[in-house]
């Protein structure tokens, strides 16, 4: 199969998400699609996969022009896409999820579907439990399920939009191996959208770069990262150097803390984090690191033990009380837990205010919002709603809402889905916070980020916290082993 994308345009109001993009894709290749947040990558991929129509331009498959009016019609013509959040149906059983939209017959043939599922998943090295429900799977497994479904549907072109955010290192290896197999052995075309240049270098043989809705060039891979970054941003953004910092006195101490929920219990947490220190927590999702953070934030109650903040015992305090003593918690789900999708930036500023009067001074709050927009370089207006912002700008807003003097910042996936520049920007903000003596604890699935940004690191595996390692002397390999349970 040969795919030609010709002069695709897609405007959202005044935003030119795709502004005349032309690309050609050849059989058997793995292409990287690169560009900063908001460059138009997802928009282009959704057009190619029939999720949304372009305003103008055409798509040619083997020289024949095609218009897709739905993802199903794209799949029937051999184009399938794995969305940033898998488009599956969490409450369904795996077989139901696989069967939905598969064939036209009235009665469902469960037996045939099960054997097809088994055959395909073992062919690509996926270990799926056929009896389970989708919502009991990890994100990586849900992706595998989607891939199997697309392949069963006859996909010759597979698009993966940021597939590695939120999956484990092993799942990433499994995914990449299956992608290689699909391209090299079966001659399929794969497209990988990613912000992680290391992944693109590892997997792809060619990369397209988009900027502000336009095609700006392509590169044979491997090539120097700087080249790619320069094309993505128009200049090489200054590498954020991690400033050295004199750590202060202990700010947070955990003494024999036990936390248990019906899913998981974490025993005997002992930890001391100093003022100005950045402490990274690694581990597979659901291994206990989130419980630690939530216990410090006052969102879960420890069964026993003590949590001391700056000499004050805050064990079992509520979230509102810990907030009042300058603990901030930034949850992973930006739009689920952190921001309110339909509220404006000004309203967010009002919600985040420390003292609340009964009447809101909207004029002052609007000015406050404007000044934060400028200071944190958010692309938006005081009256834009949170959901209109691109991912990177939502994250900036979250940080823009934090109070000034904080003792402790608790972060989950602080840079998930952000491009290199936004990631550096966020970390520079956090580095500045250290001047005030703020201690920072963060969770990240990205081991490079953990090692690069932390002073010290602990790894969680099955509810057990490892020994604490020094970020300067450890390696991705060592942390990887610890995640695997070799604490």
């Amino acid at each position: 199969m040969r795919v030609e994308i010709r002069d695709i345009r897609k405007y959202f109001g005044s935003v030119k998400a795709n502004d005349g993009i032309t690309l050609t894709l050849e059989e058997g290749h793995i292409y990287g699609v690169l560009g900063e947040n908001g460059a138009g990558k997802s928009t282009l991929m959704k057009i190619l996969s029939g999720y949304q129509p372009p305003d103008s331009g055409e798509i040619l498959l083997n020289g024949q022009p095609h218009t897709f009016d739905s993802p199903l019609s794209a799949l029937k013509n051999g184009v399938g896409m794995l969305y940033q959040d898998p488009h599956d149906i969490p409450p369904f059983s795996i077989v139901d999820n696989f069967l939905l939209g598969r064939d036209k017959r009235l009665r469902l043939n469960y037996r045939a579907a099960e054997s097809e599922l088994k055959e395909l998943s073992s062919k690509y090295g996926f270990a799926l439990d056929i009896q389970a429900h989708v919502d009991s799977l990890s994100l990586g497994e849900r992706q595998q399920l989607e891939l199997v479904r697309l392949l069963a549907g006859g996909a010759e072109v597979l698009i993966l939009d940021e597939p590695t955010t939120g999956i484990s290192a092993e799942q990433k290896d499994v995914l990449f191996n299956s992608m290689r197999k699909l391209a090299r052995e079966e001659g399929k075309i794969l497209l990988l959208v990613s912000h992680k240049l290391e992944e693109v270098q590892e997997l792809c043989d060619h990369a397209f770069i988009l900027r502000r809705g336009k095609y700006v060039g392509e590169m044979e891979i491997p090539c120097p990262n700087e080249k790619l970054v320069e094309m993505m941003f128009g200049q090489v953004p200054p590498r954020s150097e991690r400033p050295t910092f004199e750590l202060g006195d202990p700010m947070l101490e955990l003494r024999d803390v036990n936390i248990s929920t019906y899913r998981l219990s974490v025993k005997n947490l002992n930890l001391s984090v100093r003022a100005g220190e950045i402490f990274g927590l690694a581990g597979l999702e659901g291994s206990g690191q989130r419980l630690l953070i939530q216990a410090c934030a006052g969102l879960v109650r420890p069964e026993s033990g003590q949590i001391i903040l700056d000499g004050q015992d805050i064990t079992s305090w509520s979230y509102h009380k810990t907030r009042a003593v300058n603990v901030a918690y930034v949850a992973a789900g930006r739009l689920e837990e952190g921001l309110v999708a339909s509220l404006s930036l000004t309203e967010h500023v009002v919600l985040a205010q420390r003292e609340t009067d009964f009447f809101v001074d909207w004029a002052a709050s609007g000015q406050d919002a404007q000044s934060r927009i400028e200071h944190y370089q958010i692309v938006g207006r005081p009256d834009s709603t949170a959901e209109e912002l691109s991912g990177g700008n939502q994250q900036r807003l979250l940080f823009g809402l934090l109070w000034n003097k904080l003792k402790l910042i608790l972060l989950e996936h602080p840079t998930r889905g952000l491009d290199v520049r936004s990631t550096n920007y966020i970390w520079n903000l956090l580095y500045q916070r250290r001047q005030d003596g703020t201690a920072i604890i963060f969770i990240s699935p990205d081991l490079d980020e953990i090692i690069e940004r932390s002073d010290r690191i602990a790894v969680f595996s099955g509810g057990v916290m490892s020994r604490i390692v020094d970020a300067k002397t450890t390696s991705v390999k060592e942390i990887g082993h610890m995640i695997g349970g070799q604490l």
Binding site: Y51, S70, P71, L72, S73, Y83, H87, D88, I89, P90, P91, F92, D96, L99, L100, G101, R102, D103, K104, R105, L106, R107, L108, Q131, Y262
Partner: protein, 324 residues
Amino acid sequence: MNDSELILILASIILQAAPLMIAVCGETITERVGVVNLSLDGTMLMSAMTGFVVSLKTDSVWLGFLAGAAVGALFALIIAFGTIRLRQSQVAVGFVLTLLGDDLSAFLGQNFTHIPGPVVKFMPIPVLKDIPILGPLFFNHDMVVYFAFALVGLTWWWLFRTQPGLHLRGTGERPEAAFARGVNVNRVRYLYTLIGGALVGIAGAAYSLNVKIGWAEGHTRGLGWIALAIVIFGGWSPIRGAFGAILFGATKALATVLQRIFPEVSVVAFNSIPWLLMILVLLIVSSESTERIIAFLPRPLQRPLRHLLRAAPPMALGKIFGGK
């Protein structure tokens, strides 16, 4: 009370529960596709009145049922149009329709109150009716009861064993994903909202033509709300919903018996028994403590039990679909 008396009581519980079973089935279908038809109480009043009046005028109960179904479908169409096309809140539109149905049925039906009319013919099924116990319970009734049971089975089969049923459920759980698999989300929502509404309409007519025959202002008032509650109680499954409808009828019968035994206790106290029971069961079924208890059981038992007790509403219930 001897055995045959008990069987008689049980048979009459089933007879009375039939309209409720039909309404619960209808609303289960509607909610499974992601739409809440909150107008059930108004719809049932309107269709009970229309069904009775039409069958009185035409002397045909079948036309009465047809009219009831048409009224139910019409109300559902307003819900579907208002929420899918005009993107209004499902709760608001449904609530307004409830009030409308109540008043409109009282107004339009005022000349037809407390008069006798045609009845659904009693139709015992030969041979089957002579099976001990089961015969008199299930096969000694009329078409409405048979229809109710057949409907429950058919609905279950459709929902859980067919491709269109999968489309239906997928649309109610995650319309974006269903759309990506080629489901025409809005058309499916229209279709099943109408079918669900028509069934609720049949249920209303079944009440005035088969249970409490005739018409009076507020004839079925409350029944729609009960059906809505039983849909939740039944965990959006037609079989569990039907079970809930019968259980509800049984507790009501029990309340009547208890009231006879303890005449000094207020009627209201006994009338609230079914509700209390329902809340209790809901608490047991959907609490975290159940999850804890299940976690202690042997592994092979856990999954079927979780599946059985799974009582989460469809994920996209009441939400407007933003796509095409």
